[in-house]
Symmetry: C2
Subunit: 517 residues, 2 copies
């Protein structure tokens, strides 16, 4: 489509949406959207599948650009004015704009199209070859063909691919919500913008500059984040905050080369054993972080927030059974309560070899990869200081790069600490703001029943930048299933979540502007 043709079609579509059944009630909207979805389920799944087939690790520049171009096409096909936003050294962000005549509020929809790195041999099927299974792999799910007859897609079937849940499906859900409203001739109640990020899983190192450069374009009354999972009970939730995150790689140095464990074991320091002791010094078995001062900046949650956490349906027992956990770190505390606290996660260990490849040798080094989850009021730079002070208190000389031979000879213990670029703090939007109340109202209407309000999600999003740069309230409205293996092998999306997500997003687009006082 050439540029002038695009403008015309965009205008016609915008007009079309304003001539529909403006006064439709939430229940009718839900019924209309569902009818649309059932009639188009094959096409909806195909659109998601095509998007998931594009490899999308943020560092893989060529493929990231293919994703971005593909998304621009998806937006333009809906008459949404779309373009790529640039910042130096950054993967492009995809921007889109859809004006609603008569609307006074503007919502910016956020999702990210990049995905976590993969370890392909851990996947049952390749991460970028989307596969449909009749149920979850962990429940014995078997590969099935993608349906070709409209109305036959089963909600319990799952699509397996990197980013199936995190975070490509919310994009498809939002676009299909627009399609469904148009089919039902229900107008949008807000102006809509899209901001689709391409480096979220890489820690968003260029996001600040991206937002700063395009602040005018990205102006709005509310940022609505399509990321993260719904509640473990599969009920819809609205999330007002996220934890911050900062990752680090620790390397402990042993002998310059691996040594025969018989001839040198018990004399040459074993870096794997040193690493184990060091990690044991940082974290108690109940998950409490034993780094001096770590909790000093943590503010207690408010009574409103605590009440919201306690009002959520109990899921712990079901989760424990599903995950085969004989115990949890918090003892009697629920997962909802636990994520209100900071966490130290050991995301990986590497030293020598295990299993058939294990040799009787003292390894030359040992590595641990960590991530810290932070809560409101904790600062990344302060956390870094506290961690490095702790390492020093354990007798380690801390370096940031490969230590020289001289350094290694000079210090009894050396640890190299490499902080992930792009760590960031937590954020929380007050649950009492007009925008907050309007979203809760509109989502409740869209679902047609009670929903869950979550003061803080356990996961992290670079939302602090939006608050910092754009000073706009920000609320997360997730749609994907919690048991999606996001960030791990065999990531998947339960299709019913995509279908429900279309209804939720459609309801919000149709009603938010009307209930926002």
């Amino acid at each position: 489509m050439n540029r002038s043709a695009y403008w015309v079609s965009s205008l016609l579509l915008a007009l079309a949406t304003t001539t529909g059944a403006q006064s439709a009630d939430p229940a009718s909207i839900r019924a209309e959207v569902r009818r649309y979805r059932i009639a188009n389920d094959v096409e909806i799944v195909r659109e998601l599948r095509d998007l998931l087939a594009l490899p999308n690790v943020a560092s893989d520049s060529a493929n990231i650009h293919s994703n971005a171009r593909h998304l621009v096409g998806m937006l333009e096909r809906r008459g949404i004015r779309a373009r790529l936003l640039d910042a130096p050294g950054s993967p492009p962000a995809v921007y889109g704009e859809l004006a609603t005549p008569g609307a006074t509020r503007t919502v910016v929809f956020y999702a990210h199209y990049d995905g976590q790195p993969v370890t392909p041999d851990e996947w049952t099927t390749p991460p970028w070859r989307p596969v449909l299974r009749d149920r979850a792999l962990s429940d014995g799910g078997r590969e099935i063909p993608f349906p070709t007859v409209a109305g036959t897609v089963q909600g319990e079937s799952r699509i397996y691919a990197r980013s199936a849940s995190d975070d490509k499906s919310p994009i498809v859900a939002m676009l299909r919500a627009i399609d469904a409203l148009r089919a039902a001739r229900v107008p949008l109640s807000v102006n809509l913008k899209f901001f689709l990020e391409g480096e979220e899983e890489a820690g968003s190192p260029h996001l600040r500059e991206m937002l700063r450069r395009h602040a005018d374009l990205l102006r709005g009354d509310l940022w609505l984040f399509g990321d993260g999972p719904v509640h473990q009970s599969r009920r819809q939730q609205v999330v007002f905050g996220v934890r911050g995150v900062v990752g680090a790689e620790l390397t402990i140095y042993g002998p310059r080369r691996a040594l025969h464990s018989g001839h040198y074991g018990n004399w040459a320091p074993n870096p794997a054993a040193m690493l184990a002791s060091l990690l044991a010094s940082m974290r108690a078995s109940d998950g409490r972080i034993t780094i001096a001062g770590f909790y000093d900046d943590v503010v207690p949650i408010t009574d409103v927030e605590r009440a919201a956490v306690r009002a959520a349906p109990p899921v712990d027992d079901a989760l424990r059974r599903e995950l085969l956990l004989g115990s949890t770190e918090g003892g009697a505390e629920s997962v909802g309560e636990r994520v209100m606290l900071p966490a130290l996660n050991v995301r990986g260990l590497r030293a020598g070899a295990v299993g058939a490849a294990a040799a009787n040798a003292v390894p030359a080094d040992a590595r641990a990869s960590l991530d810290f989850r932070l809560v409101a009021n904790q600062r990344v730079d302060r956390v870094r200081e506290l961690v490095e002070s702790h390492l020093r208190a354990q007798g380690y000389h801390v370096v940031g790069t490969e230590p020289s031979a001289e350094q290694r000879l000079q210090h009894a213990r050396i640890v190299r600490v490499e902080w992930d670029e792009g760590g960031y703090p937590a954020t929380r939007t007050a649950m009492t703001l007009p925008a907050s109340r309007a979203v809760l109202h509109a989502v409740e209407e869209a679902v047609g029943g009670p929903i869950i309000a979550v003061p803080t999600l356990g996961g992290s999003l670079p939302t602090y930048l939006f608050s910092e740069v754009l000073r706009t309230p920000l609320i997360v409205l997730p749609i994907v299933n919690h048991d999606n293996s996001q960030h791990a092998a065999d990531e998947n999306l339960r299709l019913q979540n995509l279908f429900d997500g279309i209804e939720v997003y459609a309801g919000v687009l149709a009603r938010l502007g009307r209930v926002w006082k």
Copy 2:
């Protein structure tokens, strides 16, 4: 060569060795052997290189058989009666026999032709493509062509390949020692048998049966082991004992699948953190094993042994510099003293991922690979009991196979322990036996100077079986360099060690029978 031709040549060669300069003194023998070596150095290195080009992991049956057949050929070319010995399920052992007319003592020479498993991408050049370097890689050694002009091979050059040191070069040294004595017309002073094992690095699971089946054939007055390195000072040593060894793989179970560390971290137990704490509970930072009862069976070394250890030249400072160690686990204790104690070595750690592949996830499991080095009087079964008791005392339910879903739900903490097959105890031969004194004497003569007597090598060999099944004294006469990266990537042999080894073995073959009272 057909079978009858082989017999004739074997007989002629045996006769030839008895007609030479029987009364040659040690210094002349040394000079003759050196002359032979210089004239044949290119051929000697070529013979080793050909042997090293054969992949030799014990579990790789086809290649192990190629090695065995190749060795039979090497023995037969010297007129040594050679054949393969079998035991059910075992790689073959290579047996050889060379009678010396008039000799009253029989020495059985032991070496193993299998090698440790490899992690190929850790090697600078592929493990089974032997490469010559002008010096050690760690000293900036560069690849050089294999010399083609006799007398030009440099002793400081090194051949890089799996088993270059551990343990193929002693085989070549012993055969070339025979060749050199023959060239010098110096007769052997003992009958010689060969027993070349094919599964030592796999823990010798079939060795007991192998020795039992062929006990008559393997009868002798002394087993001489060509394995392990010379002293770190590069001086010749004679070793009277070895540490025992037993390995284990520990697996700690977390959630059934990796979980997003934001949504579940701090609630779902982190198996990597649990593993770190568990390892920290088993071993202090000074290497002391903190498993209750672990030292109960350890007998103190004798005064003679302690004196021998203290008489060895100090090597610790040089080793520390070479290995870039800012400290050692024993504090002021020397490496020689440290290997008189049991050790717990962490040979590997694996959980989740590190570096660029690290995902913000709670890993599903965490593994550690351990080896325990045992000293005289410790029993493998007792060590296993103590370790498992310790795990239970840390609150773990111990299983030997993959736990069921029910087991995982039932127990707060589960550890799977898989003991390596073929762990074995330590052995020590008394330094005061006639055979012990004769070997010390002959080696001293061969070297023409003081040597080092070592009561116990730090490494392990399945020597207890020889003591148990054959009831024959056993002494280790190693030749390879200590800085050989055996059991690790870039294993290598310093060629001067091969050359010196030929002289040592030749001296022992020529003189042992004469000094043995």
